[in-house]
């Protein structure tokens, strides 16, 4: 039903879209990847839970070194001082480590939400935050289905903190700090396509070690971060309710209808105005 409606809007509003200011809305969500997106594969079966990635992450982004302890079954969350965390979940397959940070969605809700383009999907794939543009409205936080962006509520010059996949390092040809530091080879950096192939291979070669799912391949329209795990992802702190289609698509119907209403409603109102005006003259003449 949703799709019919969207198609309906599309055909109805072709005129409107061409009038829309700036870039077309379809662009970001067409599913085509102009340059291949890069991403990262996290293989939970290889993770040692040593938290080396957490520490180098903090160092690389001038954040305080995490002090809290990692305990099985106690959930730690990313925060304005911690862009990535490792957790130890007690699952049907025993204790399993799982990492959490920004998913670097293919079609990010946060960038669709941002009205200043401060949240920005780079052509290389990482989703970055640009402080000189951000006005701190926090709509990105409201919209992100993974609850990733964090806000410095206790600062008078607050920043949004979230993983940027070490975009600056990537541009210099280096690995993200976490991927470089990981002693167990649990974090692999590469293009999304290669990573999916690699993940498939691992599942195929060791089907007993993994659930047959690459988390991130489909969720929320596909993400740059991909996960392999021995236990179902719903037991690893991933919200099982999330949809597989992209989140920005939810607002498309509205966005498409805006230009057409802007263009079509005024003449309609003018017409009614004229019609009632003549009526009134007739009455006056009588």
């Amino acid at each position: 039903m949703g799709f019919d409606r969207r198609d309906f809007f599309k055909t109805m509003c072709v005129a409107g879209i061409t009038l829309a200011a700036g870039k077309s809305f379809g662009e970001a969500t067409s599913g085509k990847e102009p340059v291949e997106f890069q991403g990262m594969l996290y293989d939970s079966t290889r993770c040692l839970g040593c938290r080396a990635c957490e520490r180098v992450c903090a160092k690389a982004h001038n954040l305080p070194e995490p002090q809290d302890e990692l305990k099985a079954g106690v959930l730690r969350k990313t925060s304005e001082t911690q862009r990535s965390v490792i957790n130890n979940f007690i699952t049907s397959k025993g204790e399993v480590f799982a990492r959490k940070s920004c998913m670097h969605c293919n079609e990010p809700a946060c960038t669709a939400a941002c009205l200043t383009e401060a949240m920005y999907k780079t052509k290389e794939g990482p989703v970055i935050w640009r402080g000189e543009k951000c006005m701190g409205c926090r709509y990105c936080m409201v919209s992100c289905p993974f609850d990733v962006p964090k806000f410095e509520f206790h600062s008078n010059n607050p920043k949004i903190q979230k993983c940027d996949l070490c975009y600056d390092r990537i541009k210099e040809g280096k690995l993200p700090a976490c991927a470089e530091a990981c002693p167990g080879d649990a974090l692999t950096f590469g293009t999304r396509r290669e990573l999916i192939a690699e993940a498939r291979k691992r599942i195929f070669e060791n089907p007993k070690d993994y659930v047959n799912q690459i988390y991130g391949e489909e969720v929320a329209g596909g993400t740059g971060l991909l996960y392999l795990a021995p236990a179902p992802f719903s037991e690893l702190g991933f919200n099982p309710k999330l949809q597989t289609s992209s989140y920005p698509a939810l607002t498309k119907g509205f966005l498409y209808s805006v230009p057409s209403v802007d263009v079509l409603l005024p003449p309609l109102l003018l017409a009614i105005y004229e019609a009632t005006k003549t009526n009134q003259k007739d009455e006056d003449n009588e």
């Binding site: 870039k23 000189e132 410095e152």
Partner: protein
């Protein structure tokens, strides 16, 4: 009661604008009224809290968290306040577009109310921004996030304020005695009205569209892909209920401003509005019903949130709707007022249910606004009322336009 025959207002008759303006700055009316005694301390406290907020950050005075980044200031001040300000576009539509002369006497005050509401809610929005110095970015165009709902809402807000200013500007010109300007500005009214209605329909629905991406965060009884249309339809009766409510207070407070003839008319106006409200509410309930059926959430009805949902829909939409119908048939003004108040409570409930109460309803730690957020909210509302009173006591808003303006007619 102050029943002196000599009114303490007048429009300018040829004094230079500047000295006239200076003389008008003086307070009029009694100083120690109940409203003043309550509002002044609240406003002062509010200012202190706002200073604290910009000094120490939002976390110093709000209970916002990483899970609930938008709280009372957005959910109530902006989202609910804008719904209540919807009266302006509905009334200008009825009066200028449909040519329903009967309602003309309350258009000005409604537009003024709407304009001030927007001005102050945008102000409240600035308080909520973490990095307000960048607020110009999406406006001057160096960063157009054109695929952002918030971007569209912001622009439709801004332009609408401009349209409302134009709609109201003849009153300012009449007050200043600027005859030529008054004539030109009233000539622009219809254009401004058409623009205003268009912009309103989009930002009223846009406020609902803001939450479309929160599919997994808002309780399913309140989240649906039809949020924009539900917000739009409910803004019709939200706005009109506010008009009815505000009118019944103004009739008393600004007694000296209102001519006997207007006062008589007012009952008729209220009576007519009750019918519009009733019909709009009927349409809204029907829509809600369809959305509910479509969502297939029967099993959720018998939960705590489900009862809360039923209370909102039955107690504060169905009941006031019936009351509106009843009062229209029986010409019962008391019933209209009660219905208007119930409707307003219903709107507050609905907007808060989407934005605050139903948002992250399953979170371990629920967001409850801090007392400081509430004080700032009241400070904003009170300041707005001060400005409103200042204008009503001076400009021809509730009272008739000066004779010269009526003669040139528009």
């Amino acid at each position: 009661m102050n029943n002196k025959p000599q009114p303490n207002y007048r429009d300018n008759e040829g004094t230079p604008y500047f000295s006239f303006f200076l003389s008008e700055l003086k307070p009029k009316g009694k100083i120690f009224t109940l409203f003043n005694v309550i509002s002044v301390p609240v406003i002062l406290l509010g200012i202190a809290l706002i200073i604290l907020r910009f000094w120490k950050g939002l976390g110093a005075i709000t209970n916002l968290s990483q899970d609930v980044p938008w709280g009372l200031w957005i959910g109530f001040d902006v989202v609910t306040g804008v719904a209540f300000a919807g009266g302006a576009y509905v009334l200008t539509f009825m009066v200028y577009i449909l040519n329903m002369k009967k309602y003309k006497s309350i258009v000005r005050v409604t537009v003024l109310n709407g304009f001030l509401a927007y001005a102050f809610y945008t102000g409240a929005l600035l308080l909520d921004l973490g990095r307000p110095w960048n607020v110009v970015n999406p406006i001057i165009g160096n960063n157009f996030g054109a695929s952002s709902v918030l971007f569209l809402v912001a622009w439709h807000f801004l332009l609408y304020m401009l349209a409302e200013l134009f709609e109201f500007s003849p009153a300012i010109a009449e007050w200043l005695g600027a005859r030529k300007a008054a004539r030109i500005l009233s000539g622009l009214t219809v254009g401004a009205v058409i623009l205003g209605i268009t912009l309103s329909s989009l930002h009223q629905s846009g406020l609902g569209a803001l939450y479309l991406m929160c599919k997994d965060k808002i309780h399913p009884l309140w989240y649906s892909e039809f949020l924009p249309i539900l917000f739009l339809v409910s803004s019709v009766f939200a706005g009109l209920s506010m008009v009815i409510f505000e009118g019944s207070i103004s009739q008393k407070v600004f007694n000296d401003q209102i001519s006997a003839e207007h006062r008589k008319e007012h009952d008729n106006v209220v009576h007519g509005l009750s019918k519009v409200c009733a019909l709009a509410m009927f349409a809204y309930l029907f829509l809600q019903f369809l959305v509910f059926i479509h969502g297939e959430h029967w099993e959720l009805l018998n939960t705590g949130m489900g009862h809360w949902f039923l209370l909102e829909m039955l107690g504060f939409v169905l009941v006031p709707m019936i009351l509106f119908f009843y009062s229209y048939r029986k010409y019962n003004l008391m019933a209209v007022r009660i219905a208007a108040i119930l409707t307003m409570i219903g709107i507050i409930l609905n907007r808060l249910n989407v934005t605050v109460i139903g948002f992250r309803w399953d979170a371990a730690v629920r967001y409850v606004p801090s007392w400081m957020e509430i004080v700032v909210t009241f400070a904003v509302i009170f300041t707005e009322l001060w400005i409103f009173r200042w204008i009503v006591r001076r400009m021809p808003v509730l009272r008739n336009s000066p004779v010269w303006a009526q003669e040139s007619g528009h």
